[in-house]
Amino acid sequence: MFGRHGDGVDGQKTKTRAKPDTPVGESTPTQGAYSTIRLPTVTLRIPDRDVAAATITNVTRRFGRRWALRGVTLSIGPGEVVGVEGHNGSGKSTLLRILSTAIKPTGGEAQVFGADVVRQPTTVRGVVAFLTHYPGLYDDLTAEENLRFACRMLGVDFGRVPPVLERVGLAREAGETVRTFSAGMQRRLSLARLLLQRPRLLLLDEPYNNFDPAGIALVNEVVREVRGAGGAAMIVLHDRHSAGDLLDRVVRLKQGVVLTDGPAPIVGDAQTSTRLTDPRESTLIAGGAA
């Protein structure tokens, strides 16, 4: 996992539309600057370094005429929590959706714990839990029924439902239809569905949206648990403060390529939030390297 950028440069695929060379080349210097700092902290947490939690090699994805991803190469080690940042349309969600097998990459390849997302989707689906933008719930079913449906689909015993509801603080509303829920409650229920399985890779797409402080703490607790069990997480976020000290690394995407990739504390805390709103994103290349 340590040589992930080197892999990306070598791994040029025959897919003609991928243009990985320049973007990867651009982020290499920043990477080099951080690696010395990052190595010890990561090594401490890794229980099993043989199989990466996720490897993304030169992945591209086209939607109609639009290229959402234009050659992304990343690797996530077991026990690693990676934040993904970037403007709207920079390809963050697309990257998560590819790892979750919701969509197939146009070019390149990706593996989750050694299973290929295109060739072994069923295996990948067994280890990945994806919290999408959308609630992904059925409005006319109650909270409990929604989870029971998920249990049936996952092949999990119904006995898991009450403790999970308890955990996300919806035990009292278990019998009410989701239609009556607030956005935050729906979000909690979506999170509850992820807890039914024991995921090894958590994919969270803006998980802090609609959550109150208690909800945010809950999300972080779940991430820590997965990490503690040797799993990994990828979190798309706009506000890094919610994640606290959870992030080991932050990857910034811009227009479908990796702009920067480095340990979370160094890419900047307070300044980042102002930079995120800066439309002249290009200054970040210089800013990140400085």
Binding site: R97, F130, P135, Y138
Partner: protein
């Protein structure tokens, strides 16, 4: 994945779709109302002559079923699209055909319930007396409905996610259903008349062949349709 796992998923989807449908009764009420309305309109269009109505009964009934039933298929996917549930549904481990079969069975139950109300109304409105061979009529109705729902569930997976979905589904579906319409109407008409020429058997076989061919084809092709 074993067959038992897949069957469990099929059951879960059937249960989920039917529970949702039961909670929002608006759907089935509207569809039944539509079916009865079409029967009534045919009555007006064909005139009050009882003989003419009786002769056209099977045809009018099947058109009422097709035009009202087609409203149900897009709804079945709409409920997946509303809260972004389709993506979550596709991310559960398991085969895609289980999703298709689940939706197919739920839609089949839905359309059969609609028929259970619309058919008696048709018999009353068009003054058709049930012939002694009425169980065979039910068999023809079920076979025709299976063909209708098989293709309807398949094409709605596309139309519900395209532009102009209300128009697209009938445009794709109805030309494909002409063999079903012909066999169901001809078989029912001849059964209602006591099947003097023994024609119904051939039509029933055609209907059965249609059902099997398109059930298999849809099962195989569904994966390609739902995944993009």
């Amino acid at each position: 994945m074993t067959w038992r796992d897949e069957w469990r998923r099929v059951q879960a989807i059937v249960w989920k779709d039917l529970t949702t449908e039961r909670r929002s009764k608006a759907g089935i009420n509207a569809v039944v109302f539509m079916g009865v309305l079409i029967l009534l309109l045919f009555g007006f269009a064909l005139g009050p002559d009882t003989e003419a109505l009786r002769a056209a009964a099977a045809g009018a009934l099947w058109l009422a079923i097709l035009f009202s039933g087609v409203l149900a298929f897009n709804r079945s996917y709409q409920l997946e699209l509303d809260g972004g549930a389709l993506e979550s549904l596709l991310l559960y481990p398991g085969s895609r055909w289980a999703i298709y079969v689940g939706k197919l069975i739920a839609n089949l139950v839905f359309v059969l319930i609609v028929e259970a109300i619309v058919i008696p109304v048709a018999l009353v409105l068009y003054q058709v007396a049930l012939p002694p061979g009425w169980p065979a009529l039910i068999g023809v109705t079920v076979l025709g409905t299976v063909g209708f729902v098989t293709l309807g569930t398949f094409y709605a997976a596309m139309s519900s996610r395209s532009r102009a979905r209300e128009v697209l589904l009938p445009l794709l579906l109805f030309p494909m259903l002409i063999p079903v319409l012909l066999s169901a109407v001809e078989a029912s008409t001849s059964l209602l008349g006591g099947d003097p020429m023994l024609e119904a058997g051939a039509w029933v076989r055609l209907l059965g062949a249609f059902d099997i061919i398109f059930l298999v084809a849809s099962l195989l092709a569904f994966e390609y349709v739902i995944e993009v």
